[in-house]
Homo-oligomer: 318 residues x 2
């Protein structure tokens, strides 16, 4: 059993590498749901969907999210309503672009949630529909909402920060609404307990992996499993490969480097995998109490992803 | 001021005729919402949308509902989930086909309703977005649900009867859930009080006009306005032009003819407009206490619709 703590695109790419080197049926991904958003009455789970579409081979390769060959008729038609939406209304929100085929996933999920099915059950159904062998678990069936305090603007939802403002605004704090009462979804704690290796994917440490680590029962199990936990740094040469991890870390008082990543993960991971371009920082990483493993981590394609997967799985004693 | 009590396709066609013969800004349509349905978490108002799309010149001319040039990517993708939906779940309901552009209307409506806007407000916004000059009022902002008792099957929602079962099953009763506590939407009663002519459109008397007549305060105003109320029979030569009005009337103990229609409308209308093919039934209609006006009522195109509109407006004394 291998368990991966996962955000969106970076995690999806690593998982696509791992399925090449181990039996996919032995893989479980515990996925962030703090980014989930209700738009137009639809429940959208961006990280779950990015991983699902990637592992199904259906993801848009240009963006790393959304579906290949997607059409945008619904969003195009929604623009008509922008002119009539009253001030203060969030309706006709075309800033969060939902493709027509992608909409089907949200329609199904929303319908099932309204029927009372927990998100973990719906996720199992959605991944079965897409033919996935990897098991995807939302971190929780409860509502956890990542809220971002934007300087000079106040608190906004994660997607309002990430997509609508293109994460190009200064952040003063991040709050995980609902985290204190949220319970890990069925199977999540066992997935950590039973795993030979737990991999923290190269996702944003603050807003993608952060919610998983802030889920107290999950964090406790990770601390107990620390010797079997390997993290992959999403920061390469001081920069996030994708998204605002570097900027967000700096703004929230973390060093935007593999050393800053090491400090965040030290309580729960015993190994940090860093890119060769950060080789010189290995001693500083190890000074934080983790073993530092230096290897190419940038996944340009399936071959690099598989190689990284193999390295990560070999990073802890069998 | 002209007010039209309206269901879906038949009402939309008559309204498209009326806008040719009077200033559209003088027209109000009070529209059935008993057919409204929540699917995939989206609030769908089929009658309001059919009228909106028709008056906007955007309706699919083949079907009389939906949008011209529509695409069906979302529904196509939804089919993937039919195989994984558990028994008893209504999810992945592709029997109610939602076009991609049409979805935008439902996304907007649902978002606004969830923000707390009443349906009448949202309807004003949607019709403004489509550039309508005619005022559309939902009969109520409250939830009224037309429920249909199907022989040997039990009670189902209206769309489950109408679309999913293609209204090809025997009906033993129709129940309007919520009607007793529903309040007419703002403007509805005044639209009847202030109208020079109130037109009951050629819609299904049981399930389209029925909910409006069952709304007690509205019915009381119609009874008081009876001298100014003109109904157009949706039954022509014993048959419904579209949909199950004939069959439904027979199953529920009404004569499926213009005479049966006359009996239903006699308390609230003083004139019944019937098609020339029913000319011989005029005396029987008048025996029910309404004046019978015989004229071509089948609207093959804009010219016939305009002619019918002109006739209807001239049917009561100025």
């Amino acid at each position: 059993m291998i368990t991966v703590l996962a955000g969106g695109v970076g995690a999806a790419r690593l998982l696509a590498g791992l399925v090449q080197v181990v039996d996919p049926a032995e893989l479980t991904a515990v996925v962030n749901t703090g980014d989930d958003v209700v738009l137009h009455g639809l429940h959208i789970s961006p990280d779950l969907d990015t991983i699902t579409y990637t592992l199904a081979g259906a993801v848009n390769p240009e963006t790393g999210w959304g579906l290949r060959g997607e059409t945008w008729q619904a969003m195009g038609a929604l623009a008509r309503f922008e002119a009539v939406r009253p001030p203060g209304s969030g309706a006709a929100a075309t800033w969060f672009s939902l493709g027509d085929q992608d909409l089907a996933t949200h329609l199904y999920r929303t319908h099932r949630l309204r029927e009372g099915a927990p998100l973990s059950t719906v996720t199992a159904e959605v991944t079965a529909a897409w033919g996935l062998e990897v098991r995807l678990l939302p971190m929780t069936d409860d509502r956890v909402e990542t809220r971002v305090e934007v300087a000079g603007e106040g608190e906004v939802g994660f997607q309002e920060y990430f997509v609508q403002r293109r994460h190009a605004v200064p952040v003063t704090s991040v709050r995980l609404d609902g985290i204190d009462t949220a319970v890990p979804a069925p199977g999540v704690l066992a997935a950590v307990d039973d795993a030979r290796v737990v991999v923290i994917a190269p996702s944003n440490p603050i807003v993608s992996i952060g919610p998983l680590l802030a889920l107290a029962p999950l964090r406790a199990r990770l601390e107990a499993a620390r010797d079997r936990v390997v993290a992959v740094s999403p920061i390469v040469a001081g920069r996030a490969l994708k998204g605002p991890a570097d900027r967000l870390m700096a703004e929230l008082g973390h060093e935007p480097s593999v050393v800053g990543v090491a400090r965040i993960y030290a309580p729960v991971a015993s190994v940090l995998v860093v890119d060769t371009s950060d080789a010189e920082l290995a001693p500083a990483v190890e000074a934080e109490g983790l073993r530092c493993l230096v290897t190419p981590t940038v996944m340009h394609g399936p071959a690099e992803a598989a190689a990284l997967g193999r390295t990560v799985l070999g990073a802890v004693p069998a």
